[in-house]
């Protein structure tokens, strides 16, 4: 939480002095940075605390997946056809649906969330490992989008003129693409080309890289627009004039003077982009262009499970619930961060 901007200014470039007066408690005399104020507000927000805890938990699950799976005892890619008593886990007369368990899920003291139909893999282990694919792709894509969007937006807003016109048109074009369709069509093509032209094997690293790149590439334009607008207003402020009159070049002004003032905005948008990318990754995996088999992914689990929803509804429920919880937590946290940084726009 380092929000220490060189010049304290609220994210919308409004009136800093009023702001602080409004919110800072009167008895405190020493000035507080916007970061400290926002942090204080965030800490009081119960929704923020709960969603942040959930997110930390999910991140911990993703990071510690190998350890967790060691405890539960079944690796995510291992087929299991018999339990420790030698009973069949799958009913091979009925197409390989789990035998027994709650709602035909095969849940037992060994397989906590049951086993997958047909392949007999442990649902719990795949759920835990699925968090890795989701978070990795979503966070990676967000970083790409934020970096691209910030740099392009600042350059457009700072230089104005033909640079701005050109970059803004590029943003307009990107924003008018049917993004999901494009990603759907592009992902397999890029992966194929990487293999045939550059000899990069079409493995999971490549697939994830492509997903991250594609999501980021189609996601930066929206952010760039916002950054551009903010930059246009910040660059007219006195401290920028001061820096320039002291001989600061554009690089210094953009990255040392303007960028710190954009951080609150970026933070809000980043927390709101992450959940959309988690959903996008799941959607792409659902549609078969996501991570490769046998890597676990919530999207593909949902896709597989949709075949079996009648006989085994829980298999569909678990990845769906994980996806729902994760996305909701990120969205609520994003809202709270926005409220904390800019109380005027928030909930009362």
């Amino acid at each position: 939480m380092t929000l220490g901007a060189t010049e304290a200014s609220p994210p919308d470039g409004g009136l800093p002095s009023e702001h602080i007066a409004e919110t800072a408690e009167a008895k405190q005399i020493e000035g507080r940075s916007l970061g400290q104020i926002a942090w204080a507000r965030l800490k009081k927000d119960k929704v923020a605390l709960i969603s942040a805890t959930l997110i930390l938990l999910i991140i911990a699950i993703a990071v510690l997946a190998p350890l967790i799976v060691k405890i539960s005892g079944f690796p995510p890619d291992q087929p299991n056809f018999k339990d420790s008593n030698g009973n069949d886990l799958l009913d091979t007369q009925l197409g390989g649906i789990p035998a027994g368990g709650l709602f035909g899920s095969g849940m037992s003291s060994e397989h906590w969330l049951g086993v997958e139909p047909q392949n007999g893999r442990d649902v719990f282990a795949r759920l835990v490992y699925g968090a890795r694919a989701s978070l990795l792709v979503a966070l990676g894509g967000t970083v790409v989008a934020v970096v691209l969007g910030t740099v392009v937006g600042m350059v457009a807003g700072y230089f104005r003129g033909w640079v701005d016109a050109l970059l803004s048109r590029v943003m307009d074009i990107l924003l008018s693409f049917p993004t999901l369709l494009f990603i759907l069509a592009l992902t397999p093509v890029i992966a194929d080309r990487a293999q045939s032209t550059f000899g990069i094997p079409d493995n999971n690293t490549l697939r994830m890289g492509v997903l991250i790149f594609v999501l980021g590439f189609f996601g930066w334009a929206y952010l760039a627009r916002i950054v551009r607008g903010q930059t246009l207003s910040i660059r007219e402020r006195e401290f920028i004039d001061a820096a320039r009159s002291l001989g600061a070049g554009p690089g210094y002004v953009i990255f040392r003077q303007i960028l710190p003032n954009l951080i609150p905005t970026l933070l809000v948008y980043a927390t709101l982009i992450i959940p959309t990318y988690i959903t996008a990754e799941a959607a792409l995996s659902f549609l078969g262009v996501g991570v490769k088999e046998p890597t676990a992914s919530w999207g593909r689990m949902i896709s597989d499970a949709s075949n079996w929803y009648e006989g085994n509804p829980l298999y569909l429920f678990f990845p769906g619930a994980m996806l729902f919880i994760t996305v909701l937590a990120f969205n609520l946290l994003g809202d709270s961060v926005r409220d904390a940084l800019d109380p005027r726009a928030g909930r009362s």
Partner: protein, 568 residues
């Protein structure tokens, strides 16, 4: 000259059939066949056929997969054909275009005579010249996907098909095919083939008039000699067939052609097709699917409105995974041995939907076929990890990724590939799954440049003889030195000399033994691992009658005698 035998169509497997195909030929398939109806049905109406992916090649010179084996029956006729009897579950070889045929004492010269009154869709007469032309087309490198028997058996060495640049041999074509008049055709073979009348049931022995030939585009509009003609064909969407009014029922012992037309719908999600067929309402009462019931729907087959609408059948096709020896890594026999012993048949079968839909097999030869031998390499159904690990340790494999090709047309083939991947991971072999579009699967695997390391494949004998299995799956393509036969996906080279000598053996029994010997010899070098045979179960529309799963053509629902119960 009518042998009651089971034969089979061809390749089967990846696609449409993909899921299906089934097991065992022979006598033990008397389960199945619930709900077959022998009502005559009414003339007229349209039958809708759902198919997970489009046909690779409808062109009779290129059609060599079970789905086109079935659809082709509606569009073109061959010299002979196997007539499927749903009651006895047997096929009988009958003359389709041919009225009668004779063979020479050495089985090397075969003369076929056509029936009278055979007409194309425009009313022009079908002549033997056009059959000769289509067989010649199958020699062309551009149309190489079809049955290889023309190239294999006909004595016109070096002939490269009727197109330029090779030209048509100065207008003479393949000199081993003689057409003394419009109704007679003589084939001169380079070896004794006692079953050449069965060979003549292959689609390459259908007529194609030279004037209608569009070479590689002929897939899109084949010229009809059968009871139906192409009304419209949108690749990957629909193929609509309408009645060919010039087809004469009196000349055709095989087809009843009761419906007015067929509509093939490609690419619908199988899960959705299953739902529709199980509901069976509205237009779906006249529908069926080339994809068998998905594993998740097996539990619904006992429902009251479904249980009488089920057809079920086995076939002589065998599924296997071939190890492509063109790839440097897989030249190492120890690695192939490790893959062979590490393969978990139980997991593979369970992923394919379990015991109800599959059975494990230990050979590419159906148990019912003369010459079948129990696999001398004893492997438990879940694989032999010890042996596999020992072989792997002795190999030069260092953890490289091997690509396993699987058709993406069906969920089940991807699931099966994942099962194989997990089993091989267990012994320390890393496998990546490469999904290949179903309407392009076999073409991709036949092309040396695009074939994967490990090839999911399946093979159905063309007629009941080891000569349609062993040299096709493990043998050479004799048109070029060192070239593997088109369906030899493992590019195995063992025993090729012997395979070229066996046709000279006149005694049937001796030849069968020789084939079995050479199969054992080739299999000892682990070119492939036999996996499963299918038991196909289909739910069909309630208004359809005379339906059955045709064991002769990959276990697919038979379309030659199907009819609507009520029209209107």
């Amino acid at each position: 000259m009518t042998h009651a035998k089971r034969a089979g169509s061809v390749i089967a497997t990846g696609l449409a059939l993909t899921l299906t195909l089934a097991a065992c030929g022979g006598g033990n398939n008397d389960d199945g066949a619930g709900g077959e109806s022998s009502e005559q049905g009414a003339k007229g109406g349209i039958v809708t056929v759902y198919h997970a992916s489009d046909f690779e090649h409808l062109d009779p010179a290129r059609a060599f997969v079970t789905d086109t084996g079935m659809a082709g029956q509606l569009l073109y006729r061959t010299l002979t054909a196997f007539d499927w009897d749903a009651e006895t579950k047997k096929v009988e070889l009958v003359g389709d275009l041919a009225d009668k045929w004779e063979k020479s004492a050495d089985f090397k010269t075969w003369t076929f005579t056509l029936k009278d009154n055979l007409k194309y869709e425009d009313g022009s007469p079908i002549t033997t010249k056009d059959i000769k032309y289509n067989v010649e087309r199958s020699f062309s490198a551009d149309l190489s996907e079809g049955a290889p028997y023309g190239k294999d058996y006909l004595d016109c060495k070096g002939y490269k098909g009727p197109y330029s640049p090779a030209g048509n041999n100065g207008g003479k074509g393949c000199t081993a095919i003689e057409v003394p008049d419009d109704k007679t055709i003589v084939f001169k073979l380079n070896q004794a083939v006692s079953e050449f009348d069965m060979t003549a049931s292959m689609k390459i022995f259908a007529p194609t008039p030279q004037a209608k030939d569009t070479k590689t585009q002929y897939d899109n509009r084949v010229w009809s000699s059968g009871p139906y003609k192409v009304k419209s064909y949108t690749r990957n969407k629909t193929l609509v067939l309408e009645r060919n009014t010039n087809w004469d029922q009196a000349t055709d012992p095989l087809r009843t052609a009761m419906p007015d037309g067929f509509e093939f719908k490609f690419g619908d999600d199988e899960a959705i097709v299953d739902q529709r067929l199980i509901a069976g309402t509205g237009a779906d009462a006249n529908s069926l699917s080339f994809s068998p019931v998905q594993p998740q729907n097996l539990s619904k087959l006992t429902q009251a409105n479904v249980k009488d609408r089920i057809i079920e059948g086995t076939d002589t096709c065998r599924r296997y995974i071939a190890f492509n020896q063109q790839k440097p890594l897989l030249k190492d026999q120890k690695l192939r041995e490790a893959l062979y012993y590490g393969f978990d048949k139980t997991a593979y079968l369970t992923a394919r939907g379990g015991e109800r839909l599959n059975k494990p097999v230990d050979s590419i030869v159906p148990e019912s076929l003369e010459g079948y031998r129990k696999n001398p390499l004893e492997v438990p159904p879940t694989g032999d990890i010890e042996k596999a690990k020992a072989a792997l340790a002795a190999s030069s494999y260092k953890g490289e990724k091997l690509q396993l090709g699987a058709s993406d047309a069906t969920d089940i083939s991807i699931k099966a590939a994942e099962a194989a991947q997990a089993a091989w991971k267990k012994i320390g072999v890393n496998v990546d799954i490469k999904k290949i579009p179903g309407d392009n699967y076999y073409s991709t695997q036949q092309n040396d440049a695009s074939a994967t390391d490990l090839v999911t494949a399946g093979w159905c004998p063309d007629w009941p003889s080891l000569s349609t299995i062993v040299p096709k799956v493990l043998g050479p393509d004799n048109t070029a030195p060192g070239k593997a036969a088109q369906n030899n996906y493992g590019r195995s080279t063992i025993g090729w000399d012997k395979m070229n000598e066996i046709p000279k053996i006149a005694d049937q029994k001796e030849a069968t033994n020789a084939w079995a010997d050479v199969l054992d010899e080739a299999m000892a070098a682990y070119p492939l691992v036999p996996a499963s045979a299918d038991n196909s179960i289909y739910v069909i529309g309630g208004n359809l009658t005379n339906t059955s799963a045709n064991s002769d053509i990959g276990g697919l629902p038979d379309l030659t005698k199907i009819a609507l119960k009520k029209v209107g």
